[in-house]
């Protein structure tokens, strides 16, 4: 008989390797305090527009509470196809090239699991959303980070990407506008990155969850660069643009063979996304545009406000072109990101997220979300100004 291991030893090796999220530790400290103004929240402060909530309620009243097709409700996939074609300029067949997922997070997981063989490398840009590296590890891939820089507006440079490519590289993950930097990817750089991907025969996973929140010049997807559609998995969802985080609805658009592969995993794990969420998403696409534009205008004004005040208080802050985060440098204060965030929290009860929670490249920065009401932002910058002055 084998000797019983300690419960810890039962945990799979690749799961054990995953570090605890840097956000998690900090979250517990913040959560234990009262009267904190939090600039640490990665979700909209707007409530889902009422007409969308009402559509969800109506679907419940009609008794629509069952499973849907594994790929998602046909009506929703048709509407996604229309929306993506109109707003991104690329068409996906609703019958075979679109999969509705439980948030974009699930779609990322499906995409990685569908394409990676153990040991395949995936290159991503850093600072980035906290789940990319662990998601790659969980799919038995090897995460390879490429740093982006503040002086570049946190754009991924094609030459940096190319340097990270090895014979084992299978895919590249992009997220523009970026959480946490708000960086966007200009067309010229998209074209250069596309050339690299085509030359090395790489698949691109592009997480465009913040695309509607682009404040200048409009958003363009790398999918539309010639030669990219057939090697790209386009990932999008409803959380940010339509303030629907809790509905957990995202989607993946990809050539039929890739969609089919993702669907095989999805059908045996999630089965389908919640029908209530899908009904709400359908309403968002049909009638949610004007509320979305109003939210975007307000986000833009808040961004201007924060960037101005951070620079004025001596924290160098580039102007992000998208998402709802600013990423000021705190190097001048002589503190580390974590020290800055902790001391600010203790002294002034303002919560920001240490930049290195988003990868080592984020050291020396803090992420401040402006998904917070303007009156709260005004108090926050006042307190932060006092804090920096007293350092």
């Amino acid at each position: 008989m084998k000797t019983q291991q300690s419960p810890r030893d039962y945990v799979a090796e690749h799961v054990r390797k995953i570090p605890r999220s840097g956000i998690r530790d900090f979250f517990e400290i913040v959560q234990s305090m009262s009267d904190v103004i939090s600039l640490g929240i990665g979700e909209p402060d707007f409530v889902t527009p009422w007409h969308i909530r009402e559509a969800a309620i109506f679907s419940l009243e009609r008794g629509r509470t069952g499973y849907t097709s594994n790929l998602g409700m046909p009506a929703l996939r048709r509407e996604i196809s229309r929306y993506v074609q109109e707003n991104f300029g690329v068409r996906y067949d609703p019958a075979s090239e679109i999969l509705v997922s439980v948030g974009v997070s699930e779609a990322i997981d499906l995409a990685l699991r569908a394409i990676l063989n153990p040991g395949d490398e995936v290159v991503y840009h850093e600072p980035c959303y906290v789940s990319y590296s662990p998601s790659i590890t969980l799919a038995h891939g090897k995460p390879v980070a490429v740093s982006t820089r503040a002086e570049d507006g946190f754009v991924l440079r094609a030459e940096d990407l190319e340097r990270a490519i090895t014979p084992r590289t299978k895919a590249v993950m992009l997220n523009f506008p970026t959480n946490p930097t708000g960086g966007t990817l200009p067309r010229a750089e998209q074209e250069k990155i596309a050339r690299v991907c085509i030359e090395h025969d790489l698949i691109v996973l592009t997480d465009e969850i913040y695309s509607e929140l682009t404040y200048a010049g409009g958003h363009q997807s790398i999918t539309t660069v010639p030669g990219m559609r057939e090697r790209t998995i386009f990932l999008h969802g409803f959380s940010k643009a339509f303030a629907m985080t809790g509905f957990r609805i995202g989607y993946a658009c990809a050539p039929a063979a890739l969609t089919e592969a993702m669907m095989r995993i999805h059908q045996y794990s999630m089965l389908c996304a919640s029908i209530t969420g899908q009904e709400a998403a359908l309403e968002a696409l049909k009638n949610g545009q004007s509320a979305m534009i109003k939210m975007r205008e307000e986000y833009q004004r808040r961004r201007n406000f924060l960037v101005h005040h951070f620079n004025a208080m001596g924290l160098d802050c580039h102007e992000p072109k998208g998402a709802f985060y600013v990423f000021p440098s705190i190097r001048r204060t002589g503190l580390s990101s974590r020290e800055f965030a902790l001391k600010l929290l203790e002294d002034k009860k303002v919560a920001v997220v240490p930049g290195d929670a988003f990868g080592p490249g984020g050291a020396g920065y803090v992420r401040c979300s402006y998904a917070t009401a303007q009156d709260q932002l005004e108090v926050a910058v006042q307190r932060m100004g006092d804090f920096v002055k007293a350092l």
């Binding site: 999220s21 956000i23 900090f26 979250f27 913040v30 959560q31 904190v36 939090s38 640490g40 929240i41 990665g42 979700e43 402060d45 409530v47 959303y129 906290v130 789940s131 959480n179 205008e297 004004r301 808040r302 201007n304 406000f305 101005h308 005040h309 919560a351 997220v353 303007q374 009156d375 005004e378």
Partner: protein, 159 residues
Amino acid sequence: MDPILSILEANALASPESIAVQLKMPVEKVREKIRHLEEEKIILGYRAIINDDKAGRKNVQAVIEVRISPERDGGFDRIASRISRFDEVQSCRLMSGGYDLLVLVEGEDLRTVASFVSQRLATIQGVLSTATHFQLKTYKEMGTLYPEETFDERLKISP
């Protein structure tokens, strides 16, 4: 619409300094534009939205449907303007449909409002009829729900 108006409509207390930063404009320019908006009567005034129940105001409000006969040279405007001048009248609008003017009247009690309607409003020449509806309860005022819903149950830090 002018973005300054969007900001002030949401919060009349927004300072010119804050507006200037939000819109990337010099603060002097913002002050000048606000002055201009006020002079042009685009901004008619600034007021607080008050929850009468909590403020303890016992005033009675009624909406009155008024039918009037249009005049040859002024249409509805002259009578509407005459009605609007009463202090009791909070708002007065020309409507399409079964009546002409929708008048919101406020008074100390039911009797004051009733006598205003019967003695002042209904007796104006050109007023054909009135139908008075007393307000029982307010659920939403000027885009603001009663009582304000507090929704922020978001986690204080999230990725």
